[in-house]
Point group: C2
Chain length 612, copies 2
Amino acid sequence: MPKVTFIPQNKEVKVEAGTDLLKAADMAGLYIEGDCAGRGTCGKCKVKIAEGEKSKPNKAEEKHLSEKEIDAGWVLACQHKMEKDLVVEIPIQKDAHLRKTSLKGGVEHLSAEPLVEKVHVKMERPAVEDQTADLERLLRHLEKPDLSVELRELSQFPALLRSNSFAVTVAITGNRIISIEPGDTTNQIFGVAFDIGTTTIAGSLIDLKKAEVLAVAAITNPQNAYGADVISRITHASESRENLQQLQDKVIEAANSIIKDLLKQTKVARDRIYEVTAVGNTTMSHLFMGVDPTYLAPAPFVPAYSRALEVEASALGLNINPAGRVIFLPNIAGYVGSDTVGVILATDMDKRTENCAAIDIGTNGELVLAANGRLMACSTAAGPAFEGAQIKHGMRAASGAIELVNYEDGEIKLSMIDDAPACGICGSGLIDSIAALVNAGLIESSGRFVNPEDNPEKVPEQFKDRLRKGTNGYEFVLVAAEDSDTGEDIVLSQGDVRELQLAKGAIYAGLMILLKEAGISKDDLDQILLAGAFGNYVRKESALTIGLLPQLPPEKIIAVGNAAGDGARMALASKSVRDRAKALPEKVEHLELSTRMDFQDIFVDAMSFTKV
Amino acid sequence: MPKVTFIPQNKEVKVEAGTDLLKAADMAGLYIEGDCAGRGTCGKCKVKIAEGEKSKPNKAEEKHLSEKEIDAGWVLACQHKMEKDLVVEIPIQKDAHLRKTSLKGGVEHLSAEPLVEKVHVKMERPAVEDQTADLERLLRHLEKPDLSVELRELSQFPALLRSNSFAVTVAITGNRIISIEPGDTTNQIFGVAFDIGTTTIAGSLIDLKKAEVLAVAAITNPQNAYGADVISRITHASESRENLQQLQDKVIEAANSIIKDLLKQTKVARDRIYEVTAVGNTTMSHLFMGVDPTYLAPAPFVPAYSRALEVEASALGLNINPAGRVIFLPNIAGYVGSDTVGVILATDMDKRTENCAAIDIGTNGELVLAANGRLMACSTAAGPAFEGAQIKHGMRAASGAIELVNYEDGEIKLSMIDDAPACGICGSGLIDSIAALVNAGLIESSGRFVNPEDNPEKVPEQFKDRLRKGTNGYEFVLVAAEDSDTGEDIVLSQGDVRELQLAKGAIYAGLMILLKEAGISKDDLDQILLAGAFGNYVRKESALTIGLLPQLPPEKIIAVGNAAGDGARMALASKSVRDRAKALPEKVEHLELSTRMDFQDIFVDAMSFTKV
């Protein structure tokens, strides 16, 4: 069997001849960026053959790789089949996940309200005159004779008692002793809040005695190997129980690697983590819990459950105290998940009296409106354009991504994350680029590039070389090959503009439908909250320029950070927030947009680049 | 590695050279009778080398095997080490376990009160106008919005619903849905009641809708391989976690093989068993639950717990519905277990107003006294004599065991179980034999055989040949070699009589202490109940002759069958019986005899063979 060595990780794996490099990397526990689950259509899984014989490029590779790249040894991992031993270099995007994580947010104003109660007990020893069983002796001291106890903890309890002079600490959840620990550990109560994104999984370790975030960590969701979008993953899961199990295993492994990282950062012991909360879209929730998501995909988009699911950590194989509780917050509908519940919690949407909209733009766009005492939500299939997927040179918000674009003094000015040489365009950069080109008059309100042949007068001299014919319509060169990190031109294509138009039109139309249902107009809105990493980085001016948001005074548009993750933290720290979360599926009215003719009408209008 | 083939089972196993045959049989999944856990002291693990070379008999074999046996190829399995390939015959005792099992008992007067409730639900299908999640749709129909659901059941619920036209049956325990089943299964609610004996494990499959016993099955407790008595097993378990796990695995495997048998007999589906109750002594309870029993052995004999433990079947690996509940009834003290709780339930001792004693004789003797509104219990280390262990030709109550012995018309008359040729003496036969020899004047009240040399006149002519010098004092030949199944004389030895004296003295003394504590005399007893298989088979006259029981009119002595097992069945069938059981540890006063001087005094007196 041929062997492949991946660098710089230096991981080796032997595979059957004919295995593609994407699969091989997965077998080696490595993740290669990509959006199309190995179908060869996204062109993102570029890797470089560092040693060994490379096969002839196939059609997919010819389409997605430049000649220069092919000559330099680049291949598409999903297309290149292993025949002989290889050394393969995986280009590493400097990890941008920390954009999604911060020590701040979610718990500042909460008083610590852990689910777990800890009591230190010192007992007298048994004697012939007092043969009370160990457990009953403990319960007598706790003055709680009706507590039940985890069998796992009871198993070695007699020896634990005797080797600790009959002094132990018990951790109690509800009416159950979930942990018996030597000595006094009453100050050690920890929990982890997860934000399970389709693309990125983030976790925060919280000291539940102090309501304080101690550490954060994030990684790419390894389910990515089965497709960047939820539909691909639902399709995969629905094919067999094994596939469903596979997707669950992936996300649980990822969660465990985050826990490992958090424990390493803080030196907290794994068994002192008793609680986990998680938020994510409804598909992520189903896959995390190992529940068949099949019927989320076709209309009428029915989830298996909407309530919060609570299970023992051991049932999921999550590496915290095995009797710890894992709570996935409830979802509202098939495409309005607990991530939206998190946004509502973090922004107090369920308590507001003014008219307020919250928009969380991820792979899907979820919208919530609080108006006239009602709380309404809907989702729009925005597609992954805002996360850089389906965009020719799109990428996640990692080092070298074009993130800011200005049209100033007749020039297009760019800046990249980390000021690194450009290697692609992230979501905020995409909106900025298009807004800049709209402002420069190079993109018409219909979304078409100005045709330089028909209307040469519309193209200023300085852009004449940069607006050129692409494979499918015109394209604009943002960064020339000689200045880019990839050695090729980084362009914004007509297709990219179309993707953005669809995405922003869907979100705008969704908002309009919510307003319509509430019987108010956009001018009645007191605030628009932008949630998510994207919301933090998108420039309001650009969003207004392209008509993603309705024209409101900029001070009414507020970025609220990773509100979904903040909601998970709040629910972890506080029982009352958790109770608020559990009540939300009943409180929030869900609007299904897919079958509404009025949505389609507004959507079509909303695609144009006019200020609205 | 040499190979051994066991016949008649025809099981083969390859073992390291030097492995003894007892171990090899265990590896082959077979059980060879024996009481001393392979120490070579009981002489019970006789097997015959049918093919292959047998090693020279060692000292243990010379002690326990006759020359004739050695010549015929018999060895002690625990002593014979494998060097070359062998074919080994394991003598099979025709299984006598069914003595412990009966379709009757325990549930006749109970109304069916299953823990599990089943509801058949037929739902309307989801639509865009009603996108309610599957689980919430179900709960809406049940009108129980607060039920939680087993994650395992939720996992495939969406497909189950759709492939069954949205008609399913749910099984509910407490506030939890533990099973979701296709179609209408409301009539299928089953449970298994276990009686986990140190020697024998018995199980009964019960239809919980009808409170009807459908089938019974029993097997030898395979923990026997680690010693016949609880102390050997505690010692083994206390040596390492692995050993404890090993003992738990053995009993769970045995329980699973009983379940398999019960399902085979009845064609009931495994997933339709939702409840299990179990009784057993405190050590068996600990080992079944995998809880460290170490501190049961030394004074002050403290159990890890006394309450009833309830766990999910999946946590134990018991092959019923994985979410089924397993309840091990509570124990009262280190040596008064839930088997005694079962006896109390089955005999209504906790409700009686008259003075009544119950005696359950197994490996230990447990005694319960109801008197003056009090309920008291104690245990006595009777030893396993009544189960045929530690008795030279002792055996379990299997085919060929001498079970009835009479001294009539100057003759000793015997009968064997199944009228088979004699191969040993079971517990009831032991008491009968000794009573007969006491009646014949061959055993003195001190327990010594009459010395035929000093007092030849005391030995009737017909017994002169049969009362002879043995290896350790005199012995009486019950069955001569030519009439026995084993080809050797079956004798009652002086040592056997001593064993019985210790056992019966302990039980009698325990009863006296209970009466003393209650402030009544034996004449105040309205009834003595004899529980257990032994109680069913022992003859009252013999028990009175040897002074095992106090002299009471025989009609006051009542055999109540396998009351412990009946109690387990009752607790399975009825919630109110279960509640009674749970309350017993608080109600029953436990007397610790081991440290009482008054017990020692009575014990010494009680060893003599005088009617008391």
